[in-house]
């Protein structure tokens, strides 16, 4: 679900693949819902990497900062 770029783990499917972002979170033990409702970008109540406190948006997708901490 992620590829490595300069020690960062970038989500392969961009910013608008909502199904893949839900699928990816199912494989993750580190998901934490962003507490700021305004930063949650999906209207579904299902957990999604897109709504995780540890995602960092970049121009084409997002970087998982937790993977960066543990898997670099």
């Amino acid at each position: 679900m992620f590829y490595k770029r300069d020690n960062s783990f970038v989500f392969k499917y961009g910013k608008k693949n909502y199904d893949k972002a839900i699928e990816a979170v199912g494989l993750c033990k580190n998901f934490v819902l962003d507490k700021d409702e305004d930063e949650l970008i999906t209207s579904t109540k299902k957990n999604s990497c897109y709504n995780c406190l540890f995602r960092r948006w970049c121009s084409e997708s997002f970087i998982c900062m937790k993977k960066g901490m543990y898997e670099s």
């Binding site: 934490v32 962003d34 409702e37 305004d38 930063e39 970008i41 406190l53 960092r56």
Partner: protein
């Protein structure tokens, strides 16, 4: 001098995994002003450039709102904001604060151009200080590298632009539908528009799934809706990401 319109914006107050967002800190500041000094307007969230060269935490957005202050209360509010942001921001964050009277802005177009630039280009602290000085805006690094001044100034600029950002927070009405005219009477939104810009029919009803969320267009708090089987339906979050 009586009270005049003041822009207030902050940026870059968090770090990875931090428990309080910039939006929440801004909301605290807004509530403090509302309680002690002046009525305030809703906070707008302005999306800035996402680029690896910019040291933002997760989404590079800036928060801005307005209120009415005189010179004396401006100083009081400024001091409160600086100490509050220093206290509430994350240890490793680099917050910045921007404030200023609307009437003091010398070249509105130049300020707006700065804000729009912050959505497209990587900007420097030097250019932020130059722009703020030219427009007679207060701009201050609160701690660490203080990179948040770039976003804070952009927040003021984009709020002054009047066609950027989502309104912070969600509005729950506790009902499943409401006529457009009735919603406008509540004062929660200044306008209801279809997503392509046409003004909504005031007699139509809006079907509410859970809550309503506004965007900032033409200096107004606007609810965007789409046709939905004879009713209107608010646009879902996924369709508001461009604002």
């Amino acid at each position: 001098m009586g009270k005049n319109k003041v822009y207030i914006a902050i940026d870059d107050t968090d770090e990875v995994g931090y428990y309080t967002s910039t939006g929440e800190i801004c909301e605290d500041i807004r509530e403090h002003i509302d309680k002690n000094y002046s009525r305030t307007t809703p906070i707008t969230r302005h999306q800035l450039l996402l680029d690896d060269r910019i040291p933002y935490t997760s989404h590079n957005s800036s928060m801005c709102f307005t209120c009415e202050l005189d010179l004396e209360t401006f100083e009081q509010v400024k001091n409160f904001i600086l100490s509050y942001v220093a206290y509430k921001s994350a240890h490793s964050s680099s917050p910045g604060v921007c404030m200023g009277f609307e009437r003091d802005i010398c070249d509105r177009d130049a300020l707006i151009a700065y804000g729009l630039d912050a959505k497209k280009r990587v900007l420097t602290k030097e250019s932020a200080y130059e722009t703020a000085a030219a427009q007679k805006l207060f701009l201050k690094e609160v701690k660490n590298k203080g990179n948040g001044i770039i976003g804070a100034l952009a927040g003021v600029a984009l709020r002054a632009y009047g066609n950027d950002g989502r309104i912070k927070g969600k509005i729950k009405l506790g009902k499943k539908s409401i006529a457009v005219s009735e919603l406008l009477e509540t004062g929660l939104f200044e306008e209801v528009r279809l997503k392509h810009g046409k003004t909504a029919d005031k007699n139509h009803h809006i079907v509410i799934d859970e809550y309503l969320k506004g965007v900032y267009i033409d200096h107004k708090s606007v609810l965007l809706v789409e046709e939905y089987g004879g009713f209107y339906k608010p646009l879902v979050k996924e369709n508001l990401l461009d604002y």
